[in-house]
């Protein structure tokens, strides 16, 4: 991956995650030098970017991260947290993070369109795309954002021929 393009994407991902976590969960997301490994038992979400260029982003987090976010967001105890809540949080956080990433990569006058997030266990997700993982620590809990290679090739160095 081109170093300049990767740095541009890194800044976009870090700013998007930081702003979203700060705004929604009133805490800080610190980037990790080495991203955690995505595992099949994690809570996850995937979201396609439809326009102007096709791409995909994913979010993965251990159940304890999702539970901590649910407690903060819903003001509930662990006993009141449901799997639906955890999946909805994964989908909505990815939706907001993806929007912020794409917005920062595109010129201001370029509209974009996101698909609907699909959330569930990460074991349900497989892909032929190659993803880059970006790790974060939220009060000691891990969160991973995965961006596919098309985000670098299309969004950091766009050309008209790539547009859908």
């Amino acid at each position: 991956m081109d170093t300049v393009a990767k740095e541009k994407l890194r800044n976009a991902v870090e700013q998007a995650v930081s702003a979203t976590i700060e705004n929604m969960a009133f805490t800080v997301a610190e980037p990790l030098e080495t991203p955690p490994q995505e595992t099949s038992d994690m809570i996850g979400a995937r979201l396609p970017v439809l326009k102007p260029y096709a791409a995909e982003l994913r979010l993965a987090m251990p159940v304890n991260t999702a539970q901590a976010l649910a407690q903060e967001l819903y003001s509930v105890t662990y006993d009141d947290i449901t799997p639906d809540m955890l999946h909805d949080i994964a989908g909505e956080f990815l939706n907001m993070i993806a929007g912020a990433i794409i917005r920062s990569l595109l010129p201001q006058d370029t509209p974009f369109q996101l698909g609907l997030p699909v959330a569930g266990s990460c074991s349900l997700f497989d892909s032929t795309q190659t993803f880059t993982a970006w790790g974060f620590s939220i009060d000691g809990n891990e969160l991973i954002i995965l961006t596919d290679e098309r985000l670098v090739t299309a969004y950091t160095t766009p050309t008209a021929s790539d547009a859908l």
Binding site: T20, M24, D88, G91, E92, R103, L106, Q108, G115, L116
Partner: protein
């Protein structure tokens, strides 16, 4: 008491928008919720609202479709619609405003942002007891 309809397919987003509205001055409002534009239109047929806060990206009928329906309805076209979207940028905001959106905000929203936009809606003397 203001009657506010929140339209978003995410229950987390609806809960967060409601919380922001309460902090922004709508703590005494009556909140209604719908998970997509179609359900919102069905609700609006029987339940009057003072304004709508809607996401763009939803299944069945999205926020743009909902906005078009409301603005083309003789009964609903004066209803203010605030759009809150994660896929918002200046180009898209302008298109939504030209379709009749009252305002467009980027997700994640904050109470001060919301207050700045809806201040006129919650302070206007249109209450009917």
């Amino acid at each position: 008491m203001k009657r506010i309809l929140i339209v978003d397919d995410s229950i987390t987003a609806r809960m967060f928008i409601k919380r922001c509205l309460e902090i922004a001055g709508c703590q005494d409002a009556h909140f209604m919720e719908a998970a997509n534009g179609k359900d919102a239109l069905a609700l609006l047929k029987s339940e009057p609202a003072d304004f709508v806060v809607a996401d763009i990206n939803m299944p069945v009928l999205d926020g743009i479709g909902l906005l078009r329906w409301i603005k083309s309805s003789p009964k609903l076209n004066m209803l203010p619609v605030v759009i809150i979207s994660s896929a918002s940028n200046p180009a898209q905001d302008q298109e939504l405003l030209s379709l009749g959106a009252y305002a467009v905000l980027q997700k994640p929203i904050s109470p001060p942002q919301l207050r700045a936009v809806i201040g006129g809606l919650i302070e206007s003397p249109v209450e009917e007891e």
